[in-house]
């Protein structure tokens, strides 16, 4: 093992260091200086992102080409780029960089949306921000992990941090969200582990790209591999929240503090999709596409249908966004359908489209959750649809951004969500899965109904009659420059990404 390769994991180290600093800083600073804690956490994420980009640029200049999208696509010619480092436990490829980038972005934005919490709240403590950073570190490791052991440990780092974060508000709903997330998360992890055990038993290998290479001594155990992969898929579909394993999402997303919900809906989902992507593109690959892609397609169609249909009935905006998140998991799954005769270039294109979707989805979802977190009255959170009535008159800027996020989530041009959906539908059609893509377009059109309800509530519905003694309607939103920064930043990015969808790929050259 070449230890100098550890420098490739420097971004993770930066985030971990920031987590330790923020936990210890909480012990030594005065109570009135606690606003510094989120700033330190934010600095950790930004420095991590900087270090990630620096790593990427130095790799590109050293090898005079950008890293491959995944390690299976790497040329094995002499002097070419070999993304497998540190004894094959990690793979420094573009997919890993992209997932780590999305994780850092989600972490930074959820720190911004939590920074306005009250002083005495558990949400303002150093442990809260430390756990956000630890969860982000787990997600980044998960993006780079290339054997089952590293993958499992990273997954658990992320999950355990998120269990506690989900319960960090001091009310019953939050505790209940943590309990549900914990029990169902641990249950699904057990299935995932059993799947890994079967695969190990059949092959004796733990590396993600090696396990399906038939080993000569155990040729008769293909059945065991299939059983193992089935269990593994159950666990992973559970983690990404795909139907029929989606039922935990609405309660957990509704009960958790809004900043944490944003992190779970974007960062955790991106990291879980990193596992799915590695399995679909590297482990199964085109060779096993006949066995598995139809299963992904069925799960995708079911997830889109269930998520969109149930979102129609929700009156609580946070819960509606949770169901919308399930629906978006379905669209994302479409991007992971591998054609049996795909080549490396096509797979890389598909992966790029899926990553674009993850990025666009992260921006618009975190922005929407930021607005939901701000709408409150006398410190009480207001999440119901009717509470958004008249927001356009009181806070035109916030309402405009929220409307943009809703249009983008619905997939209307010229926002980022339109191109994201267009790209995954295109990859599904290119891979030969026309029917799931058509169903995706149809459900996407139907989804406009519930996204537009929010816009109608903000712009058309009359403000509720103010009862005597109630706070004036104008005081409905707390002012918080950090959350405003998050919302306007995400809004701007949603438009820019929609107008210049090839913007991020500019970095790849």
């Amino acid at each position: 093992m070449n230890w100098s390769e550890l420098s490739e994991l420097l971004p993770v180290g930066v985030v971990l260091a920031a987590a330790l600093v923020v936990v210890f800083l909480d012990l030594v600073i005065a109570h009135k200086d606690r606003y510094a804690l989120p700033m330190v956490a934010l600095a950790g994420c930004v420095l991590g992102l900087g270090s990630l980009i620096q790593n990427y640029l130095s790799l590109t200049t050293y090898y005079k080409q950008s890293p491959p999208w995944f390690s299976g696509a790497a040329e094995t010619a002499a002097g070419a780029f070999n993304p497998l480092i540190l004894g094959g436990h990690f793979s420094i490829d573009l997919f890993g960089f992209a997932i780590a980038g999305v994780a850092l972005l989600a972490g930074a934005l959820s720190v911004l949306s939590s920074a306005h919490e009250e002083d005495d709240s558990a949400l303002s403590s150093g442990e809260y921000y430390g756990l956000i950073l630890l969860a982000v570190a787990g997600m980044m490791l998960l993006g780079f992990a290339h054997d089952f052991l590293t993958l499992l440990v990273s997954l658990e780092i992320m999950s355990i941090s998120t269990y506690i974060l989900a319960g960090s508000r001091r009310d019953l709903k939050s505790g209940e969200a943590a309990l549900k997330y914990l029990v169902l998360g641990a249950f699904s992890t057990a299935f995932l582990m059993m799947g890994i055990a079967f695969i190990y038993g059949a092959t004796g290998k733990l590396s993600l790209s090696e396990v399906l290479i038939p080993s000569e001594q155990l040729v008769s155990s293909a059945f065991l591999i299939r059983g193992g992969l089935a269990l593994l898929l159950v666990g992973v579909l559970f983690k990404v929240g795909a139907a029929p394993f989606h039922f935990w999402i609405p309660d957990v997303y509704e009960g958790a503090p809004t900043g944490v919900t944003g992190l779970m809906a974007t960062g955790v989902k991106a990291a879980a999709f990193a596992v799915l992507g590695r399995l679909a593109f590297e482990t199964f690959g085109p060779r096993y596409a006949h066995d598995w892609a139809w299963l992904f397609a069925a799960a995708a169609v079911l997830t889109m249908a269930v998520g969109n249909f149930l979102a129609l009935r929700q009156e609580n905006v946070k819960r509606m966004l949770a169901y919308s998140g399930i629906a978006h998991t379905g669209y994302l799954l479409l991007g992971f359908l591998v054609s049996p005769n795909a080549d490396g270039i096509m797979l890389a294109d598909q992966l790029q489209n899926a990553v674009f979707y993850l990025l666009a989805y992260a921006l618009m979802t975190l922005g929407a959750f930021g607005v939901v977190g701000l709408v409150r009255e006398d410190g009480r959170r207001l999440e119901r649809l009717e509470d958004f009535a008249g927001l356009s008159k009181e806070h035109p800027g916030l309402a405009l951004c929220m409307a943009m996020f809703m249009f983008s989530l619905a997939g209307l041009p010229p926002f980022a969500g339109f191109f994201a959906k267009f790209l995954v539908f295109k990859s599904a059609v290119d891979a030969g899965y026309v029917l799931p893509a058509v169903l995706g377009v149809l459900t996407s059109v139907a989804s406009m109904a519930y996204y537009l309800r929010v816009v109608r509530a903000m712009y058309v519905d009359p403000v509720r009659a103010t009862k005597p003694g109630e706070a004036p309607a104008g005081a409905r939103c707390r002012y918080s420059w950090t959350t405003n920064l998050l919302i306007y930043g995400a809004g701007l990015a949603t438009i820019l990404l929609g107008l210049f969808p090839s913007g991020p790929t500019f970095l790849l050259r």
């Binding site: 093992m1 971990l16 987590a19 936990v23 540190l86 004894g87 436990h89 990690f90 005495d120 558990a122 403590s125 442990e127 809260y128 430390g130 756990l131 630890l134 969860a135 570190a137 787990g138 490791l141 054997d147 052991l149 590293t150 440990v153 990273s154 658990e156 780092i157 355990i160 941090s161 269990y163 506690i164 319960g167 960090s168 001091r170 079967f198 038993g201 001594q217 155990l218 008769s220 155990s221 059945f223 065991l224 059983g227």
Partner: protein, 184 residues
């Protein structure tokens, strides 16, 4: 002759441990009194440690004893004592037979699937097993010893092992977060 007796005794002992483990695990799931269930859990963990010894994984057996029987059981007992002020708190409230039946159905499906999987596996495992018994009868030193395990753990798998320490860190910070939430 003596060797055959020895092997037979070992097999007998093995099946006693298996039976004990399965019985204890079943009791964990059906017992009405939660404290009894926790004690049964300790027996099940002990049984699994015994199986590890049969599989020549001595180090793992020791770790299983220390961490599970020594640590996790105490933690579980503590949680039970804490969450049960009254006597009826330790007895589970009305259990529906529907849930029990549904759970049993799922368990049956899982078990049947495992059996089918194992049968498909017979060929390689049978070969492997012939050697396992050979190794078992000759010398115990043929098994991967703690030294080999240590070399691999601190060599090839050092990095994942170190990553696991981040997990412990997360659990530690999380425990502090939960406690602080209570006191403040």
């Amino acid at each position: 002759m003596v060797r055959a007796m020895h092997s037979m005794l070992a097999t007998l002992l093995f099946w006693i441990v298996v039976l004990m483990t399965v019985t204890a695990a079943t009791f964990v799931v059906v017992a009405r009194n939660i404290l009894h269930a926790a004690f049964a859990l300790a027996v099940a963990f002990l049984g699994v440690a015994g199986i590890y010894i049969f599989l020549h994984a001595d180090f793992l057996a020791a770790v299983q004893l220390i961490v599970y029987v020594g640590g996790i059981i105490v933690l579980v007992m503590f949680a039970i004592m804490f969450s049960a002020h009254t006597q009826e708190g330790t007895v589970e409230p009305r259990r529906t037979w529907l849930a029990l039946g549904g759970g049993a159905l799922v368990a049956g499906v899982v078990l049947a699937a495992t059996i089918m999987l194992i049968n498909r596996l017979q060929v390689p495992l049978a070969e492997a097993n012939a050697h396992a018994d050979a190794a078992y009868r000759t010398t115990a030193s043929a098994a991967p010893g703690e030294i080999a395990l240590g070399h691999v753990l601190l060599g090839e798998y050092l990095l994942p092992f170190e990553v696991a320490s981040i997990l412990i860190l997360a659990a530690l910070v999380g425990a502090v977060a939960i406690v602080r939430k209570e006191t403040r």
